[in-house]
Symmetry: C2
Subunit: 388 residues, 2 copies
């Protein structure tokens, strides 16, 4: 189905924002905002980061750089349409002119949603799907504080429609920020559980981006490096929390984000979106549960890709596909187990009666388009039942 | 001197333009120019590409897309300050509003230079060094047609001061184009000799970027992939000219460009610039001559980097540094020999009496700053004498 030759010839696009990465660099957020022409920052973050002291640190930097700011933290995990609308009203009321998102995927996707509404108007649902944004959005600086979302480099925002209890995806080069600024020191205060689930999200980004039919060498190199960093540091980061392992995971998130933003994803994310929408479940946890079964489903059609995938996961197979196939499955399971990642949908509160509806919604999710293996509703249901 | 730990912690920046890559995609040049708001294209190319028919094809695409254009081909290899100034006057006189550069490093660097002058004025020498450009330049689309320059993704332009017979480097994020568009089919008409010398340039970009003290995982993944593609296809491309090998070299150039644009280079380029300035010598040929000696000079301080470098060059060393060291040197020499790359400065017309002056100038070149090993003027002279 996919082979190197095809890969070498295929058309590809690659786009990433300006990236700044390094310990202690959070203090550059003000100079980034100023460089983009901002005078009054709309700072989107969450209460956890406020309590951990990072929001304070950013506010101090902004003041030192002579910038005014408005702080907005009325957002929840799997950010809701209503929170985005409230945020946009607040941005306009306050006359802000640049947005800084500090946090995990929720804070950053909320920042993206707010940016879209303040310059384009309407409801955030109006921008669902590819290329629906027609007016430039305000300058945007995103500072990730978890090991996994990739939103800080991606061309996507995933928002929760609270009335319909469904997640929808906005896809546009416009929502890649102007600057992605990662200070891995911010991971110091991330709870163990979130180190695990956000790293599992990055793991699924890297694996799905690598196996995507839209992959290219431009995305492959980043997906494989993400896997190497995750293999090396995921267990240690959860168990020992050494700063170098945390930095490796932050870097893995960046590489995985650069990969999936340009090659898109697959069945795990196609299923994770409706589950997140219906149950407001933790996105990384859902991916941890789904990924092994989805990789098992993909295996028969991705054999030529497996040796490099195995290599990314830390194993030499000298091109032996059968060996690589086993190693890929074992390595992914081991990484998830070492971190005590959730391993069943039931444990996440998913109700068995909803599985057919989840499969039906997943079949319509945009991520299904780049799956290396076709999947019917019934195939998707099989996968869900396998990990229930 | 460099180790993985240091690498994991170091601060890094990474910035690349929007990239479009694929066979047959040259026809998208018009839609790229339009998307950037252009109505009248200033098309910079050279007579070789005109004769090969590619300029005609681009002109036809521009017309089909409803764009007016002005064609400018008064540029020579190692583009001169005077050519840039003439081009800028022509751009202004004709009222163009977007620049397309089609060609090798000379056409693309000339396009960058013209873009700088039309919006910033003055002489092109005024912009030598880092961050001297203060006004936004016109939208820029660069279409590489060789295997090596990387100018289509880089934040550099190298221009020849014709009075002083020296090359100088302009470094600014401004000169990375808006869009890098590679159609590897354009390599079909590249003479064998230039396939070899431009691939040697990409080889030296990849090796120097990988060994640079400013490297990071973001640049490493691209440098190593470039090496893998070059190892796989450089010999075949020159000998058999199969389209898939040509496409691999075009892709290698892109990866190597993404690497060196963000991690900078080393001694080979520091020496290549004065040689190019003084003798108007072919840049790829000069790098082919210098690279083996420079790698030999660097080896003692880059031992931890060698196994991955050897792996990029196609060899497993299981972390054995001594083996990797030999393999790296052998592989580079073999690649250059298979293509009949020039192997001595004398054969390029360099005069022995000038070597001390070349070493003196190289010591002041910006590329020396990121060399993994310090080099005095006398060390640089030793290297020059070694490959004379």
């Amino acid at each position: 189905m996919m082979n190197k030759l095809q890969n070498a010839f295929s058309h590809c696009k690659f786009e990433v924002p300006e990236i700044i990465f390094g310990r202690g660099l959070l203090g550059q957020v003000g100079s980034c905002a100023r460089r983009l022409g901002g005078k009054k920052v709309f700072l989107v973050s969450d209460q956890g980061l406020f309590q951990a002291g990072w929001v304070d640190q950013v506010m101090q930097c902004l003041l030192n750089d002579g910038l005014a700011f408005v702080y907005y933290d009325q957002i929840t995990p799997n950010p809701k349409d209503t929170e985005i609308e409230d945020g946009a009203r607040e941005y306009i009321r306050q006359g802000a002119d640049v947005i800084v998102g500090l946090g995990g995927g929720s804070a950053m996707d909320a920042a993206k949603g707010i940016a879209i509404l303040v310059s384009n108007g309407g409801r955030i649902q109006d921008y669902e799907g590819p290329d629906k944004i027609h007016r430039p959005i305000p300058p945007l600086v995103l500072c990730p504080t978890t090991c996994g979302t990739g939103s800080d480099v991606s061309q996507f925002a995933v928002i929760n429609d609270s009335a319909e209890r469904r997640k929808f995806t906005i896809m546009s080069r416009c929502v890649a920020p102007d600057i992605s600024l990662t200070d891995p020191d911010t991971l110091e205060t991330l709870p163990d559980e979130h180190v695990c689930t956000t790293a599992a999200d990055a793991l699924s980004h890297a694996v799905e981006a690598y196996l995507s039919v839209a992959s290219s060498t431009l995305t492959d190199v980043n997906a494989v490096r993400a896997l190497r960093l995750i293999s090396q540091s995921m267990g240690n980061a959860v168990q020992e929390r050494r700063p170098e392992d945390m930095a490796n995971l932050a870097r893995a998130s960046l590489h995985a984000g650069m990969a999936f933003s340009n090659s898109l994803l697959g069945i795990a994310h196609a299923l994770a979106h409706p589950i997140g929408g219906l149950y407001d479940a933790n996105h990384g946890s859902v991916n941890a549960v789904l990924l092994p079964a989805v990789v098992g489903y993909d295996l028969p059609v991705v054999s030529e890709r497996l040796p490099e995938l195995a290599w990314g996961l830390g194993h030499q197979t000298n091109g032996d596909v059968a060996m690589a196939s086993e190693i890929v499955q074992e390595s992914i399971n081991r990484l998830l187990d070492v971190c005590n990642a959730p391993r069943s949908l039931k444990s996440l509160g998913v109700e068995e009666k909803d599985l057919p509806e989840l499969a039906r919604r997943a079949k319509k999710d945009v991520c299904i388009l780049t799956s290396p293996r076709e999947a019917s509703e019934s195939d998707l249901l099989d996968i869900l039942e396998q990990v229930y």
